[in-house]
């Protein structure tokens, strides 16, 4: 247990450091964006008001409401205090809607889309990778270029390809939104059916990208593992191929798990872009809108939420990894 404690201790310290850095960057970066969003809102509210002092009054009113007239560090501490309470202030672009309300509506779309897509893509990719390494010959010759293709096009490229082929050319799937634009969210069959049909394209675009990236890595890891001494020894002890492929799958997968912990951020980033392509009502689309409208309370809250999710997921993966790879335990004892 001592070995594990040291390992977890190290991981937790890193988690905290990254977390603090993430919160700081999330706060500062959007505020460095050019443009004055308060001026935009003021202009909107003050339409028809011609008197300069009245406009200035409205502007100052908003500025104190959003707190941007206070010094940066004061803003930061009140931001942290409120964030802990789940209060991220009011959105600029959808004023006076609270940011937390917008995020609350969007986050489940993102989680329900990305989590299954990344996990399923990861498993299928690894499975096909080990199979390609084991079977080689024709199977490998056909699959390998496909994996390489999938892994080298960017996420939005895959999204656009699927959109054009299945949405526009064959017209078998809707091209945008999370459900029919004429429906109101409810637990009716019609609504759920619509959600499912809108789910397909963004889902598969993320799955295919993850399959490609995982399979390429898994294939070379498995080829390496298949040449390991324990494989030869197991064969000469009469153990059947199915079992041995199981050993290889497990051992080749371990570096893939660390790989997942490292790349989950990139994967989520890519998936967020797919959401934008399909105007999916998740966080990706929210971020996009927040950026185009300089809505920095919304932008920093969404990026913060995503950063926290990614940090937690990769921390979780690291912890799981320690339990399934006995070498970690042994290494920490040295």
């Amino acid at each position: 247990m001592k070995g594990y404690r040291k390992y977890f201790g190290k991981k937790i310290i890193w988690l905290i450091i990254t977390f603090i850095a993430a919160v700081l960057l999330n706060f500062i970066l959007p505020r460095l964006l050019p443009g004055d969003p308060v001026a935009v809102i003021t202009a909107r509210t003050a339409q028809g008001v011609s008197e300069a002092s009245a406009v200035k009054q409205i502007y100052e009113d908003y500025a104190s409401k959003f707190g941007i007239n206070k010094p940066m560090h004061v803003q930061f501490f009140s931001y942290c205090k409120n964030a802990l309470k789940g209060d991220f202030g009011l959105s600029f672009s959808q004023y006076p809607r609270p940011v937390s309300d917008i995020i609350h509506d969007a986050i489940w779309w993102t989680i329900c889309l990305q989590f299954p897509a990344i996990v399923i893509g990861w498993f299928i990719g690894n499975f096909l990778g080990v199979l390609a390494a084991y079977i080689r010959k024709g199977f490998d010759k056909i699959l390998m270029p496909i994996f390489l293709f999938f892994s080298s096009i960017p996420a939005f490229g895959m999204a656009i390809i699927l959109l054009v082929i299945f949405g526009i050319h064959f017209k078998i799937a809707p091209t945008s939104g999370g459900y029919g634009f004429d429906l109101i969210p409810s637990f009716s069959f019609k609504f759920i059916g619509s959600v499912i049909s809108h789910y397909h394209l963004p889902f598969w675009s993320i799955v295919l990208i993850s399959i490609g990236a995982q399979a390429v890595g898994m294939r070379s890891m498995s080829i390496y593992e298949l040449n390991a001494d324990y494989v030869k020894y197991s064969r000469f002890m009469g153990i059947c191929d199915r079992k041995i492929v199981g050993y290889v799958f497990r051992n080749a997968m371990l570096p893939q798990i660390t790989g997942l912990a490292l790349s989950v951020g990139t994967m989520v980033g890519g998936a967020l872009v797919s959401e934008i392509v399909f105007s999916y009502p998740g966080l990706g689309t929210v971020i996009y809108q927040a950026v185009t409208m300089s809505d920095y309370p919304l932008l920093s809250a969404t990026t913060l939420i995503i950063t926290i999710m990614v940090l937690i997921v990769s921390f979780g993966i690291d912890i799981i990894y320690a339990f399934i790879d006995p070498r970690i335990k042994a290494a920490q004892f040295d």
Binding site: D229, Y233, F236, G238, C240
Partner: protein
């Protein structure tokens, strides 16, 4: 005479490299191993010892290919069997193997006991995990290993422990033949002694019925084996009892091998250290005639042209050289 545990007749195998070149690493090897007997195979690095070990098991996968010959295990010819049949019924069960790299032979992410379960289930699917654990624990303790090892992963074991664990795992099904490829080369002297002792115990307790022990250190075999074969460039060049081979080698190569030992085992005479000049031939294009001719002090044009025949003398000594026993002894005494 009883049936030998292992009989091999004229076995030849080759590697086919990625560039479609043939490497003739085992050429026309015959041997016979009686119950209770242990056989040592010695030779320089690259002479085909490991390849012979693999070839003897009758199960081939690329780049190693079977060419000809018979392998008879306890009266049953396995050369004609389908590969899957060999793997299912012979490997691990009748013939067990300890690889040269036994340190890396265990799956790093599997507990020892789980691997033993897989080995046993491959041959005996009905045995319960409980029975397997009892068998393994008892066997490990008999062999001087703690039963706690079973619950560990190989990364938690020291080198010597790993080696002994692999030996215990390989022999868990009490095979008729154990083939051990350099089981002690990577170990310090203490661990080497423990490993050697372990082999004796395996034999005495009947956990193995016969054994082939491969090494490049000829004198080591003196304490472990009954008979010794010396291998050179894919061929057996001389065989005899351990005693005869260590104290009285006749083939120029065996003689050279004995003289090139750095640390003589106790009980084996002091040697003047002389390395055999030159290097073994390339097995992609083995030389015609005697394969040792290029390095042999006694070689003549005749040696380089025609293949030497196997000659016999004494009770059961064979060597592959054109010269007679008397001529060879005469030459050796001139040194």
């Amino acid at each position: 005479m009883t049936t030998p545990m292992l009989e091999v007749k004229g076995l030849s195998t080759k590697y086919v490299t990625r560039f479609k070149e043939n490497v003739y690493a085992v050429d026309n090897v015959s041997l016979s191993l009686e119950e209770g007997q242990s056989l040592g195979i010695a030779g320089e690095s690259g002479c085909g010892k490991s390849t012979l070990a693999l070839s003897l098991m009758g199960y081939y996968f690329p780049p190693l290919h079977y060419m000809k010959g018979d392998i008879i295990v306890d009266g049953k010819n396995i050369s004609g069997l389908a590969p899957d049949e060999v793997r299912r019924s012979i490997l691990g069960n009748e013939i067990a193997y300890i690889p040269q790299s036994a340190m890396n032979a265990l799956n790093p992410t599997q507990k020892i006991i789980n691997f033993i379960e897989d080995v046993i289930h491959a041959h005996n699917p009905d045995m319960s995990k409980m029975e397997i654990y009892q068998l393994a624990a008892e066997r490990f303790e008999t062999l001087g290993l703690s039963a706690d090892v079973l619950k560990m992963h190989s990364v938690e074991l020291s080198g010597g422990m790993k080696q002994r664990t692999v030996i215990a795992v390989s022999t868990i099904l009490s095979p008729k033949v154990l083939i051990a490829d350099e089981p002690s080369s990577a170990l310090d002297v203490t661990s080497q002694k423990m490993v050697i002792k372990m082999f004796r115990e395996l034999m005495d307790k009947g956990f193995i019925k016969s054994m082939i022990f491969i090494t490049h250190e000829l004198p080591l075999l003196y304490n472990v084996t009954d008979r010794i074969m010396v291998m050179y460039a894919g061929r057996i060049v001389e065989s005899g009892t351990a005693e005869e081979m260590v104290f009285d080698p006749v083939h120029p190569y065996s003689k050279g091998l004995m003289n090139s030992i750095i640390v003589p085992e106790s009980g084996v005479r002091d040697n003047k250290l002389t390395a055999i000049p030159g290097t073994p031939p390339n097995l992609k294009k083995p030389p015609s005639g005697c394969r040792f001719a290029a390095r042999c002090r006694l070689a003549t044009d005749e040696c380089r042209k025609s293949e030497p025949k196997v000659q016999h003398f004494g009770s059961n000594r064979n060597y592959r050289c054109r010269l007679t026993e008397a001529q060879l002894r005469e030459e050796h005494s001139n040194d």
